[in-house]
Symmetry: D2
């Protein structure tokens, strides 16, 4: 049982992909038409995992989260120190990554990431989400997202660098910014909040602007394929890094749980904003982590 | 100093992106025209990281490599066991991934991944590749790859499920399969070798079919933007999982080191092969791991 | 409910430490008297975590387990490659370890590691063992083990280098080897099986000698504080690396679950065996991993 | 070349164990006599690695360091959620630990952890410390430390709970607290600084009390086998978490580099301090991580 409105059952009783089902080949083909120049922008934050340096702390993240760790198992330094090459002279650099994507880097949430009660989106049992992975609604269900992206550049609309922490974007702002939003589009919402990190991590953690519940419902009603934001939680956060809304209005529950709308968070939208483009091809391909609750991603905008 | 022919200096003395520079906006825009139906296929192997199960061993990988590990830091089982939800009833599943992409999953090699002598591609000092990452030619230099993909389905050409381990694909076969190959294309080479894993890991490890050095040079001469294969090393491997060629002919040195051609390995091309499509839009967006030697990827084919 | 005999309730209704409770200060002080020469031996296998080398595969482990990974986040190679020291000239090497101890290295099992039904040792609810750790019977409950160690050198007793895979040590052999076994001792059982690894990993995986259920009960009846073995599972294993006994006779259930006897596995006992010593001070201090199911350890024998 | 005084060459040209060589069997046997009651205390901080909780932040650590991560690969929640047991009813909990011990938990530094110039302790080339580990002076060289421990309870001496951040312990204080210090002893220095964490992490990071260089030299001159402290760096730290001394006086260089004295940091000494005991048996057994720069440890005091 889940509150109305919702998409449970809409795509079939066994569906695990939610509104990604709206990205039919026809819709994808049409979406490609949104590219006009062919310029490609990455919409990802950098992953800085050098644990013995200050670099990891230079990337926005939620306080207390385990930051990415990147290790070189063999590198140029070994050879400078006298290590012998492989065979006749082959030299190799190899590495490993340890990452908990939620709250630490640009990522996509799987539909199993959040829920209330005992059921995930579309009534899949939450008990299916186990130590060895989520056997329902895992990130591997996504495949690849290729859609028309529509940028809702809210700060630019208001003539500011970034929204204040307490700002909750309402349907009126979305309506004004994206009048042509169509079913199957990916709504890309800019708050500008990552820019605050450079000024002060403490300020970044003091709260976070985001979508209001009404804006979430507005997007859901317009059948967006997914929602992507440059903040860490789509909805806003208070000073304890918690969502202030109750269950009825929690953005993850409204979007992920009730409507099967995948969420992407912690995007880097500053360069995209500077282009002034509002419409483009949006591509995101989460790693096929079976049973994953999410994946780091490097989303692209093809202008 | 590096053997001829090569692309050193071609894209400028400081270039770190190699033939990805050929993917100008014009080339990208034209590449989008290769999509005719809008169907999207993932070309990635699954990442199965449930360490307490047999699942990791069901995915092809090079013997001895550290397999991906996927852990749930909170999941549905906790709630089934009595854990309290957050606030009024929010339930969360969260996770972590530990991955060494080379040889273990679908991935892209950075230009810093292999070299000979003291210099990386384009004379960048190999000493720049350090414990805290490669400060030259790291995977973060790639951004996003959007190009026309051309599939060289060599086994299908020969009427077999997969090439034998000792097969080295020659220029003649490439010429026959991809006569329209253009500068800026991504050459996608199918050997069918991953299918052997299901039959026998030992057989999978007994060697590997791949490109011959001449085929590598043929592709380089045609200015491909990148090369992607379903085997683990682009070139072939012998029974010790080593490349049998000498330095002059090593595929990684010919392609990565001398020509700045990024390589992608361990793709899953069986579904793409079944479509019969030889031309499509190829998209790959490696994670922006600063200083990374590579990244797991979920490459897409838009048909 | 659990089969008889058992130690449930013996050390109090809330006890989480089992027979470690027998190591009272008096018992510990007396145990120190077992040291006669002061020579200290490590009883641990090496941890070889260089993932880009063949080294990890040179250490005995159960097939399919995720092997330790050891990464240097800064090392001498960085300085050889030109990295600047800290301040006026301080140079640092720093590292990280990723380890899943069960089946991969010398380790101690917590009492939460195995059970049957819905309860851990001493009726603690198994539902208390969650993603964020075991809130009952975790490895942090152990503290430090200081006891008299008694070596049961079974292969030496039989005049062989190692027991055959199918050998199950019986009470008679234990009686013959350790007539003076006292309550509070740590029984150290040698099978010699690790030596097989050097000959052939496949042979190592073809099965494993170990204690019989009767021998397990014999030790439990004698109130050992803990049991330590050089094999991977205390009991024997068949060719599928599974314990062949049913639930009644499974060594982990007999010892860990019913009697609260902590187990240590994959010790290296070859040097200790060569000394001919049967009695010594045994020390093991598992890392205080809160909620851990086990810990890598470096157990010591003080001769 | 290294500044005088030092222990280079003292234990032989190839020595990698430094003053641990002083722990001859005779010295160890005599050390066991320091135990009078048999009570065993753990001197370790807990390892709290539940990444989706606030627990990791409750353990003292240096700011910016990657905190331990502990994951359960199978646990009681899985069974509560419906997972089937193994065979007839065996249930298992299994886990993994990711740890960078320096600055995050109770640990021992290897002699390869810090140096100046191009040589480690005893002139071993720093170039031997590579990505695959330190092939000289790694933590695996330690084996087990069993020695007489002497507690220098400096705060108690001054009648305070903890020393202030700017306090540098001098030789006079050590002389007053440990007049009977003998060659081969482990000097255990209490500053009380971990207790500050509970009050305020920011205060904990505002600096750190520690040994002065003169005190370090005083200990080295008395041939201690090792030095253990409850602070994070043995010497003091300033508000940038850096050692304020120049190279001549850096505690790590004085002790580790010049004298081959292993260091242990971030011990938990509050319970030991409360016993009033100044002399005890000290045991520490770092994991045998080949090539490690250090290891988490659970040191024990046997009273």
């Amino acid at each position: 049982m889940v509150a109305e409105p919702n998409n449970w059952g809409r795509f079939g009783p066994d569906d695990q992909r939610g509104t990604l089902n709206l990205l039919t080949p026809e819709v994808v083909l049409r979406a490609l038409g949104a590219a006009t120049t062919g310029q490609v922008l990455s919409l990802a934050l950098p992953i800085r995992g050098a644990t013995s340096s200050a670099a990891p702390a230079t990337v926005p993240h939620l306080r207390g989260r385990p930051l990415p760790q990147h290790f070189m198992s063999v590198d140029g330094g070994d050879y400078a120190a006298g290590a012998r090459p492989i065979g006749a002279g082959l030299r190799v650099a190899d590495d490993a990554l340890v990452v908990s994507p939620h709250g630490t880097t640009t990522h996509m949430d799987a539909l199993c990431h959040m829920w209330s009660g005992d059921e995930l989106y579309n009534a899949h049992p939450a008990a299916r989400v186990r130590s060895y992975g989520a056997t329902r609604c895992g990130i591997e269900q996504v495949g690849g997202v290729v859609a028309r992206g529509v940028l809702f550049d809210v700060p630019r609309h208001h003539g500011v660098d970034h929204l204040p922490a307490g700002h909750r974007v309402g349907p009126g702002e979305l309506e004004a910014l994206g009048p042509g939003l169509r079913a199957g589009d990916v709504a890309v919402i800019r708050t500008g909040w990552p820019a605050v990190w450079r000024r002060s991590p403490e300020e970044y953690w003091s709260g976070q602007p985001g979508l209001s519940a009404e804006a979430g419902r507005w997007l859901a009603a317009r059948d967006v394929a997914a929602v992507a934001c440059d903040n860490a939680a789509v909805g806003g956060l208070d000073s304890r890094q918690a969502a202030a809304e109750g269950l009825d209005d929690d953005l993850h529950l409204v979007l992920l749980h009730r409507h099967g709308i995948h969420l992407m968070e912690m995007l880097w939208l500053e360069e995209l904003s500077a282009t002034g483009r509002a419409e483009f091809v949006f591509v995101a391909a989460p790693l096929r982590i079976e049973g994953g609750t999410g994946s780091p991603i490097n989303p692209l905008a093809i202008l």
